[in-house]
Symmetry: C2
Subunit: 251 residues, 2 copies
């Protein structure tokens, strides 16, 4: 993914300002007969979305902010999980007194479909065959991710989001939210993102994919019982990392 690495550094002097212990919740929809129609024309269902919330939704439901994660992110944006030390990826930004002040705002972050971190994706069991979807998982677009998120926002009873924000692939979702559901978005904060990829970005992403697929542990996508194609992923990540930086910034 071109462009964006969320800040993971924690300011240990401000521990008292974190949202504390949080839990990941799950919302399921798109049951048989009500599958999600994807941009490709394929249907996907049933769908589970992992999500977390921080702060409280106010009485007129006007203080909800949706946070969209980047390619390798997940629903765990702030706080820690019980008994663990896994601080959320945007903890510096979300919490009491922080930019997304949980004393004032109700912050929602959901794992995108296809993301494989709690939401339905290629690693999920395909109910038709009882095994992971793997390469049978349909192509999902940014628009599909946003359409799935809308089900969650509807489920939470929110008619209009105070803001939608996120960086890189998260920022793409922000732009898509505005395009798909303008009446549901009061403000948008897209960060380090793009409305479309340039040919060079497409090329970098294609090389990253080819690096993964060149790893024999890729096994044509059927690696779930055997372990990840870690060497290919490492090369892909190196390629991605270069695109996060300018030549000047590497000096």
């Amino acid at each position: 993914m071109t462009g964006f690495k969320m800040i993971e550094k924690r300011n240990d002097n401000n521990k008292q300002y974190t949202v504390g212990v949080v839990e990941t919740a799950f919302h399921s929809f798109a049951e048989p007969g009500y599958e999600l129609r994807l941009e490709s024309g394929d249907n996907l269902g049933p769908i589970t979305q992992a999500y977390e919330t921080y702060g409280r939704l106010n009485s007129d439901k006007s203080n909800a902010i949706l946070v969209c994660h980047a390619l390798s992110g997940d629903a765990h944006a702030a706080g820690v999980h019980e008994g663990q030390n896994n601080i959320g990826w945007w903890d510096d930004m979300i919490g009491p007194g922080k930019a997304f002040d949980t004393e004032r705002y109700f912050v929602v972050c959901s794992n995108v479909i296809g993301g494989c971190k709690g939401s339905t994706g290629p690693s999920s069991i395909n109910p038709m065959i009882g095994r992971p979807y793997a390469m049978d998982f349909p192509f999902v677009t940014i628009s599909d991710m946003v359409n799935a998120q809308k089900h969650l926002i509807d489920f939470l009873g929110i008619e209009r989001l105070l803001s939608v924000t996120g960086g890189s692939m998260g920022g793409m979702q922000v732009l898509q939210w505005v395009a798909s559901y303008p009446e549901m978005v009061r403000s948008a904060i897209p960060i380090a993102t793009t409305k479309k990829h340039s040919p060079q970005q497409i090329a970098f992403n294609e090389v990253a994919r080819q690096a993964i697929m060149a790893d024999p542990d890729w096994r044509d996508g059927g690696y779930y019982e055997h372990g990840q194609p870690n060497k290919g992923l490492a090369v892909a990540r190196m390629i991605g990392h270069i695109t996060f930086m300018s030549d000047q910034s590497m000096e």
Copy 2:
């Protein structure tokens, strides 16, 4: 290698202008006791260099032009080999009536040491062990390549080159020739090259190496009896190709 792909297209309307059938010659030096001292401090020898020449050296030996090839190039810069259709990589530029006019100039192109296309390199038999050097081949620098080429130029009886030219890694050799042997170079034509790599270029090259080394067929460099790490090489070439082009040129 960042930056340069020599033109391989042949103008079939101009067949009569090619240098015709050529042969690769070989020059050996650095026999035991006279090894080439490398920049690293290691010694390398004996050394064979593959080279080709086009045109004729004039009586006062003042018309010699050294052509230096890019990373994946070799000594075969112009014409074809007997019974083959393998046109040299810079045939468009070298020949009667062409930019490097073989009616006027004596053109020399040698395969760099380490290049493994006729010159001593990792695929050559290490005389100490009777097997390919592979990872035991010493690191060679642009300066080492030029020092080896100088032996060939001396052997050909040329005291001063009318010009030294080449692109990409060939251009680096051009710059090094001027730096190492200024009195031997009357003019220099470095093309699409650099005196040093930027951090971004170093990063791209490192990812290319990592892509090759991630291929199990790399076998820690000991692949000579088994076949090349082709998948890793393919990914590395894709990475390189992106660096040959600007974002604009890919539109």
